[in-house]
């Protein structure tokens, strides 16, 4: 995340707490004003209704624009893949611009644009693997799941979205369920995620939204362990139903390599631009 975004988020946390204290009658008006002055937050933060409405409209605009270009140019599969990636890249660039603007960062525009960007990238990748490279269904699906887990995780890290962290964890667990001994792997990986996420919940070096993302990962880990050990899930073979449909005809290594390379590009860009949430740690209190 951008250092300034982290600073805004930390100020917003304090202001939200102060609003709660005021509502509870624990502080008076002048104290509330003093706290808000001490922790200025330049971001415009509309209510959930406004954010959802904005996000819906942004998604409609992106999809309609994509549809307009696709219907006009009528590309074949490789061309449509490129088109999906182009629109995805445009959404990511727009997100980067909007995340830097206090007027736009929390209005739902950036969230919708980033979601569209990742979904379009993954859709393009799926088309590329299955149709252009003609990789078999199971192998392509595995590669797509791997790319999905990595891309959503990169998005969660870059833009601080707990939803993206949840989608990354969900993709990872669906991928793991398709491995041999998937149930055991779910228990092991779920426990590992719980172990990794728990210390992050109170880690002041992380941005508030990264702490929330850690909470989502923690819950995903607990849920995975529970589902893996649940008697009903064992009886019904819920995880086993996610296994591959048929023996593989194409080595999945190739698909995994393509997915890893395709994901590593944008991911490394995000990570490279990440300028250390820890730098900002404690700045609010200083």
């Amino acid at each position: 995340m951008r250092p300034e975004s982290i600073t805004w988020e930390r100020a917003a946390e304090v202001r939200a707490a102060a609003d709660g204290w005021r509502r509870a009658g624990a502080i008076d008006g002048p104290t509330h004003d003093a706290i808000r002055r001490a922790y200025p937050d330049p971001c415009v933060t509309p209510s959930a209704v406004w954010r959802v409405l904005t996000a819906v409209m942004v998604t409609i605009v992106v999809l309609c624009a994509l549809g307009a270009v696709a219907v006009t140019t009528r590309p074949r599969e490789p061309g449509f893949t490129v088109l999906l990636w182009l629109f995805g890249a445009a959404c990511v660039v727009a997100t980067e611009y909007m995340e830097a603007s206090p007027r736009l960062a929390r209005r739902g525009v950036a969230g919708a644009a980033s979601s569209c960007g990742i979904v379009l990238f993954l859709a393009g990748l799926g088309l590329f693997l299955h149709v252009v490279l003609a990789i078999g269904g199971d192998a392509a699906f595995d590669a797509l799941l791997l790319a999905s887990a990595l891309t959503w995780a990169a998005g969660a890290w870059r833009w601080g979205s707990p939803l993206f962290a949840g989608l990354s964890a969900a993709s990872l667990f669906v991928l793991l369920a398709r491995l041999p001994f998937g149930r055991v792997v779910w228990v092991i990986v779920g426990s590992a995620l719980v172990g990794l996420a728990t210390p992050r919940l109170d880690d002041g070096a992380l941005a508030p939204s990264h702490r929330r993302a850690a909470t989502v990962v923690l819950l995903a880990g607990i849920a995975a362990v529970y589902v893996a050990l649940n008697v009903y899930s064992l009886d019904q073979g819920a995880l086993e139903s996610l296994r591959r449909f048929a023996p593989q005809r194409v080595p999945s290594t190739a698909a995994f390599a393509v997915a890893a390379v395709a994901t590593a590009g944008p991911a490394s860009t995000f990570m490279g631009r990440h300028s250390g949430s820890s730098d900002e740690a404690g700045n609010v209190g200083s």
Binding site: A17, A26, I27, I35, M57, I60, A65, A68, P208, V284
Partner: protein, 321 residues
């Protein structure tokens, strides 16, 4: 722990913005030494009511031959009455203003009792055929009971349930009538949605205007607008006379946007904007019905950009009000 708030409390204390008592108290909350579980308790109660009513339904289906019809009907009635008696005994006196619930469980026991009443009525009808072909009127009875309960015990959840049940009564009635005549009368269904929508919107207006359970206004208003705008939008999507429906939809949506803007109601505003957008998209697509062109999609995208601009401007103005 919320480390940002903990650090802020220390700073605010050192700058004498907070007293030491306030800082100590807020620190307990920020460090999660003092945790509110109200939301969790409410969620558990809600899930519990849903599980209980679903469990009762499944149990009755599986064992109704072993237990007997009369025993089941009586047991359900007894359980519903027991819950209602508890609600009636613990409820505060009636008032036209908002009344605080006496306990966190109150709303959920009330919900449970009313769901059991509805289940019992449905079971009695299924087993004893009281109303026969006019069984749909059970929905009317249940809807009226819900409305009365919502007003007496001041429950927005029950009011929402009541409005849905009453709308379903008309919807199911119309569908059954149409089916019996061998037709699918979408127009009658749509007209019912519009009429009920208008009735609910009027009820919302009167609630606020007369200050009679004014906090019910949002429930009436949102249910009414969903039915009204949904009914009009469904007319716009139909093949016959869609232009007339479009005019009606745009007029109503415009009025909703304008009124919600004036009174600072973001939810109504959102419903109005989305309904108007749906209508305009239909208009944009109409001339290109059989043409394979990207023009309508481009226009729909541009309309979306215009809607976004409207949303931004409206939010700025409404925040300044």
């Amino acid at each position: 722990m919320n480390p940002d708030v903990v650090a802020a409390i220390a700073r605010l204390r050192s700058e004498h913005v907070l007293s030491s008592e306030q800082a100590a108290r807020f620190n307990r909350v920020a460090r999660r030494h003092l945790v509110s579980v109200r939301v969790e308790v409410r969620a558990l109660l809600y899930v519990g009511v849903l599980l209980l009513t679903s469990g009762v339904g499944l149990f009755v289906v599986e064992h109704h031959k072993d237990i007997g019809r009369w025993a089941i009907a009586t047991s359900l009635a007894f359980a519903a009455v027991a819950c209602l008696v508890w609600v009636a005994r613990s409820a505060p006196p009636f008032a036209w203003s908002e009344v605080e619930s006496p306990s966190v469980a109150f709303d959920y026991i009330l919900l449970l009792s009313l769901l059991l009443v509805a289940s019992d009525l449905a079971y009695v009808e299924a087993q004893f055929t009281v109303l026969g072909p006019r069984w749909v009127h059970h929905l009317l009875v249940v809807g009226i009971v819900y409305v009365l309960a919502a007003y007496r015990w001041d429950s927005r959840v029950v009011l929402g349930l009541a409005l849905g049940t009453l709308a379903a009564w008309r919807g199911v009635s119309v569908s059954l009538l149409a089916d019996s005549l061998g037709t699918r009368d979408a127009d009658a269904l749509r007209a019912n949605a519009v009429v009920f929508g208008v009735l609910y919107v009027v009820a919302a207006f009167l609630s606020a205007r007369l200050d009679r359970k004014a906090h019910f206004e949002e429930v009436f208003g949102n249910a009414g607008l969903l039915l009204l705008l949904g009914g009009l939008a469904s007319g716009v999507m139909s093949e016959r006379d869609w232009e007339l429906w479009l005019v009606a939809l745009l007029v109503v949506a415009g009025a909703v946007i304008w009124i919600s803007f004036r009174f600072g109601r973001s939810m109504y505003f959102a419903e109005g904007v989305l309904a108007a957008y749906v209508g305009l998209v239909r208009l944009v697509f109409a001339p290109f019905a059989y043409a394979m062109t990207g023009t309508p999609l481009l226009l729909a995208a541009l309309l979306g950009v215009a809607a976004l601009a409207l949303v931004f401007v409206a939010h700025k103005r409404m925040s300044a009000l």
